[in-house]
């Protein structure tokens, strides 16, 4: 174990945190100004490259008529439901693969192969099996996240420091209690990596699926913009997608990862 006495604290004082925020804000303001400048030069046609004001007007319209809120709700609900299902299945599969050699040799190799498959490839199957239906969307999300989560759990179990298992067995822990109280928490840093990767894959495949299956949803609005030839709408929705991604990472995954890495002694 590393000597804590010589570690340099990476925790930033409050003033630096504010400084970072100001720098970021400045960057985005400059970016928007640059964007506005570019549009003013009329290098590209207006219907190919909208200005920030057009995009804002478009976005404001969606906010005001409530369709953006509905679209976000629909898409995030699909994401959440699919994600919860893949979380449960991924934990079970990962535990099985990680703790049994025979399951690893068989099911493990299959999961490895499926993980390499781009998750968009599940869309045709989803549409054939479930039709243009809510289940199809959720299926695509599950397939997007499941294998990353499974492999994260599996890797975590394999990398559990043996000394934790020894200590736990010595203290009378075995079977399910050992799995749930020691192996799983010990694997948490690696599971989190899988969870995070699973979420990005799920989010991407959901958007791909929503482009095909047009309902009121974020992907639907995006595809709707293309249908109408409304480039401002396309830009507006893309910005919303980026913002949602950043918010989910900043409010869920980043703090989780920070806490776990720190507590598990993987960073200071």
């Amino acid at each position: 174990m590393a000597a804590p006495s010589i570690s340099v604290s990476k925790q930033r004082p409050r003033t630096q945190w504010i400084g970072k925020l100001i720098r970021q804000l400045l960057f985005y303001v400059l970016l928007i100004l640059l964007w506005q400048g570019l549009t003013a030069l009329h290098i590209w046609k207006d219907y190919l490259f909208p200005g920030p004001l057009d995009v804002w007007t478009s976005l404001k319209g969606f906010i005001q008529d409530g369709s953006l809120l509905i679209a976000i709700t629909v898409s995030l609900r699909r994401l959440l439901m699919g994600y919860i299902i893949s979380l449960v299945l991924g934990l079970i599969l990962g535990l099985l693969i990680g703790s049994n050699r025979y399951v690893e040799e068989t099911l493990g190799s299959l999961v490895l192969g499926l993980q390499a498959l781009p998750s968009v490839c599940w869309i045709p199957i989803a549409l054939l099996w479930f039709g243009l239906h809510e289940q199809a969307m959720i299926f695509v999300v599950v397939m997007g996240a499941l294998f990353s989560i499974t492999l994260g759990v599996d890797a975590g179990i394999k990398n559990t420091p043996p000394v934790y298992i020894k200590a736990a067995r010595n203290m009378g822990s075995r079977g399910l209690a050992l799995s749930l109280q020691v192996i799983l928490p010990a694997a948490l840093p690696s599971i989190l990596t899988g969870l995070k990767q699973g979420w990005t894959f799920a989010w991407r495949s959901l958007m791909a699926a929503e482009l095909i299956y047009i309902t009121v949803s974020l992907g639907g609005l995006l595809e709707g913009g293309r249908d109408l030839g409304d480039i401002s709408q396309v830009f507006a929705i893309m910005i919303v997608l980026v913002i949602i991604g950043v918010i989910i990472d900043a409010t869920i995954f980043a703090p989780l990862e920070r806490t776990v890495r720190k507590r598990w002694g993987l960073s200071h």
């Binding site: 000394v163 200590a167 067995r169 010595n170």
Partner: protein, 288 residues
Amino acid sequence: MSQSTVNSIRDIEAYSEDKASPLAGVNSLQIEGVSKTFADGGRIVEALRPVDLSIAAGEFVCLLGPSGCGKSTLLNIVAGLDKPSSGKITANGKAVHGPSTDRILLFQEAALFPWLDVQRNVEFGLQQAGVPAKRRKEIAHHFIETVNLKGFERSYPHQLSGGMKQRAAIARALAIDPAILLMDEPFGALDAFTRDHLQDEVESIWAATHKTILFVTHNVREAVALGDRVIVFAPRPGRVIRDFRIDLPRSRSLEDHKLVDKAAEILDALKSEMQLQEQEQKNGSTIH
């Protein structure tokens, strides 16, 4: 010894009064012909030649020897976490077939669970045994006090210093109330000052609880300061070469000349054994 240590020892005495070892005087640990050979990818490593040891209940036994002589191997086998290649171990009258809470192993790296705070780490073994939450809390509280970690119940291992981690690990082991404590270089990674301090604490805990302790160390003086016996190991292949009995009165000072003499004697025995071995190896290689 600090005042709080003295107080908490009184507490332990009170705590263990109702369960004072019924085996006092009886052999606590019987090691008969225990050996271990690892087959490491085609290469055969004789980690431990057959060892015979018998250890009385309440005895403090130090296992001393250079790196790679099979001390950890033996401790893991005694803990039941590893199987011997041959031989038999009997602990408290029962044959050892696997891990048990009457023999708790303490590791060099403390091995506290990083996802549990000190309180819940100490409660872990009790929880596995199905002790009710309230009783668990009381016992944990008691042993956290014993090792002078009061006020750190809610701290996580990453917030503790190396010495505090070992204290917490000792509390976690004591909470299970094993008859035998197996300590594998628990203070190896600590500075000399903290080490001295913890040696004192372990000695007083031992004196108060009458536990049998097997204590692995590289440090000759540490072994002589703590042990009723010092078992000396030699490497390649790992084996026991001497069994010294230390009759110096306690508590012993590291500066006491009798202790220093004894340590020198033990070191000499180890050195001459290793020289003899080198000589043999040289002779062996010239013959072939």
